[in-house]
């Protein structure tokens, strides 16, 4: 997994609440059996004027000029500023894959849906929760300044504005440790093989019906 220690980049403001994962990456692109290549279809329905098709070349599709990621000042953005309940709905990990593939390193919002939040950490994408008041301030500053950048510092757990103002954020110690070191969860869990086997032996005694009923082919 990609490491995340700190990142400074241009901010794109997505000013709508309850952005769902269907909007982040529509269903037709979920047919891919790959993990990459979703960036060009990120926000497909509001980014392009025509209907997107899986595996399509997007270079000549008509763009919705009103959409932030089509505006020259935000094309190079790598920090997404969003509103409450970002990433709600479907559990599709294609949503963080699409954001990451587009070039986003971090999403800042007042709140995230649980599954999306969790999925981000598996992909080196850092979701940052700041209060609605602070997010509102960042939306204002971003609108006022072309090329507005934020620094997201995971080690120090702060977001730093261009004027040097700092906003602290919370992140679970384990998730932080994994992101900073780019650790793979499965490798870590595999270090607990003995614990898993011990639990499993106990479980088999207590609930034997949960073992062996489904026969593999």
């Amino acid at each position: 997994m990609n490491k995340f220690i700190q990142h400074c980049g241009i901010v794109a403001p997505l000013d709508r609440a309850n952005v769902d994962t269907d909007m982040i990456i529509p269903k037709q692109f979920l047919k891919s059996i790959k993990r990459s290549g979703f960036g060009v279809y990120l926000f497909d329905e509001i980014r392009y004027l025509d209907e997107g098709v899986a595996d399509q070349d997007c270079s000549n599709r008509p763009l919705n000029d009103d959409f932030i990621l089509n505006q020259p000042r935000y094309v190079q953005s790598s920090v997404l500023l969003a509103r409450v309940n970002f990433g709600c709905g479907s559990s599709r990990e294609h949503a963080p894959w699409a954001l990451e593939d587009f070039g986003f390193k971090s999403v800042i919002a007042p709140s995230f849906a649980d599954i999306f939040y969790n999925n981000c950490f598996k992909n080196g994408l850092l979701p940052v929760v700041l209060s609605e008041k602070i997010v509102e301030q960042l939306f204002s500053e971003c609108a006022a300044t072309e090329g507005y950048e934020l620094k997201v510092d995971l080690e120090r757990q702060v977001v730093v504005t261009p004027s040097g103002e700092e906003f602290a954020f919370e992140v679970e110690a384990f998730r932080k440790h994994c992101l900073i070191n780019g650790l793979d969860d499965i490798d870590l869990t595999m270090q607990s093989v003995d614990d898993i086997k011990a639990y499993e032996a106990k479980r088999k005694g207590e609930a034997p019906w949960l073992f062996g009923a489904i026969k593999g082919n």
Partner: protein
């Protein structure tokens, strides 16, 4: 010491290791797999040279991409080449890794959240995960069930565990009887309207109270299924005789001496009387009438006799923006009557409402009536091959077809339009599914979530109508 909630009991019983930072390694008893969120997980296993930890803890079936029209040609006859590859990839992966799969034309194939329970793979007291947010459905059995991402699908395949942390406890206490024509779907839509789409974020929800104790397993599954639409990954109902009766005799359910042992173990799967919940929400079911969503989030729901909301009555600017955006997308005007909304298509199906009771509810309304001429298409998609067979044994298919509905093969279908069943831009659909997000049922499509009875009634009338009027008639 205070007693434990059902969620506490389920979580605590599955802890492999509790870490100092609050995270825990949790053991997973069952993983359900489908074609959309598993290919990258299997590929990850392959690249790392790993094998599934326990083949017998997994069950797979293709559901999202499968066509619901005649499919005698098998996987190779799926028209969309990308869908075909995805379904074929699931077949290949299950073959390679030795996982039991109900393939597309197996009579047990269907939507994972219908198949797991009807096979007895979903059992009380178990932890159940799937790369699908509607996994909460299985909580109806007093199981701890939730959706996960693809990285976690791979993690569970490889280790039989998840790294997780405990959620907060919420009790939704439902009292009062549901009226005639008011269903579990109306109840859960109403609850989502009360909680809001993020009201359950961070919580495991237990649906309790006297009303829940009377609702069938099908109804409980409908309710738990939509916990995620209120932001909660987990929805649960305590185990009682209704649960036990449903599970008994199913193919993967315990038998003989193990059945007795299991029943004894399951008797404790309820919250203790002195359990403490972080939040309690009380709902009066008797006051609920059939519900219809008007907007682009499941929380945008009103009673069928109500009007489309007016943003002028809302003070929060973020909400005003949301209402205005939804009105434009849905092509509706503020204060318009719900019963004035004209429909183009009707979809009865999805992991929320495709079980036998749902088929019966809809058929009861359809019986002896005709789909309105203005409806372009009304489709009924049973949740599994077994639901389909049961409905046909009861003659429900004939009722639907005589009324002008199409009777289809099982799958997710128009719930999310990954197969050919979808809305055209601007079309309004009365749908028994779970999400009315922009584009969910097809680019530009306009979804209204309702119960199966309400969807059938809308198909007959061509507009929304209070199904109770047709029941009293």
């Amino acid at each position: 010491m205070a007693g434990k909630t059902l969620y506490d009991k389920l979580f605590d019983a599955h802890i492999v290791r509790q870490n100092d930072d609050g995270s825990a390694l949790l053991y997973i008893d069952l993983q359900l797999l489908h074609e959309v969120t598993s290919p990258q997980a299997f590929e990850g296993l392959r690249l790392a040279g790993r094998k599934p930890w326990r083949v017998d803890a997994n069950l797979a079936t293709p559901d999202h991409n499968v066509p619901t029209t005649k499919r005698d040609g098998g996987v190779s006859a799926i028209v969309d080449p990308i869908s075909r590859i995805q379904v074929q990839t699931l077949d290949d992966n299950c073959e390679d890794f030795g996982i039991l799969e109900f393939k597309m034309n197996d009579h047990r194939q269907g939507i994972v959240h219908v198949v797991g329970p009807e096979q007895g793979a979903t059992l009380p007291g178990a932890t159940v995960v799937c790369g699908d947010s509607h996994t909460a459905t299985h909580g109806a059995f007093g199981a701890l069930a939730h959706g996960i991402g693809t990285s976690e699908v791979e993690h569970v395949l490889a280790t039989q565990c998840l790294i997780t942390r405990k959620m907060k406890n919420m009790l939704i206490k439902v009292e009062g009887d549901l009226g005639l024509g008011v269903t579990a779907k109306d109840l859960v839509l109403h609850i989502i309207g009360v909680l809001g789409t993020a009201g359950g974020t961070g919580y495991a929800i237990e649906f309790g109270g006297a009303t829940m104790a009377k609702i069938s397993m099908e109804g409980r599954m409908t309710i738990c299924n939509m916990a995620i639409e209120a932001g909660a990954r987990v929805g649960m109902v305590a185990v009682d005789q209704i649960t036990i009766d449903y599970v008994e005799g199913r193919p993967f359910a315990p038998k003989g001496a193990q059945w007795d042992q299991a029943k004894a173990a399951w008797a404790d799967l309820h919250s203790d009387v002195d359990a403490v919940f972080d939040t309690v929400v009380e709902i009066n079911a008797a006051a609920i009438i059939p519900q219809v969503t008007w907007g682009t989030s499941p929380e945008m729901v009103v009673a069928v006799d109500a009007k489309v909301p007016n943003p002028a009555n809302e003070s929060d600017p973020v909400k005003v923006d949301g209402i205005n955006r939804a009105l434009v997308y849905m092509g509706l005007s503020a204060d318009q009557l719900i019963t004035d909304i004209k429909l183009d298509r009707v979809f009865i199906g999805s992991c929320t409402n495709s079980r036998i009771e749902d088929m019966r509810d809809a058929a009861k309304v359809a019986q002896g009536r005709k789909v309105a001429a203005s409806i372009k298409e009304a489709i009924v998609v049973p949740g599994s091959g077994l639901v389909k067979a049961q409905a046909e044994a009861e003659g429900l298919d004939k009722i639907f077809v005589a009324a002008g509905f199409q009777w289809r093969e099982p799958g997710c279908s128009m719930c999310l339009a990954m197969n050919p069943d979808k809305l055209e831009p601007g079309e309004h659909c009365a749908s028994t599914s779970n999400r009315n997000f922009e584009g969910r049922q097809g680019n530009g499509g306009r979804t209204h979530l309702v119960s199966p009875a309400m969807a059938a009634a809308a198909a007959i009338k061509g507009t929304f109508v209070d199904v109770r009027e047709m029941m009293e008639a």
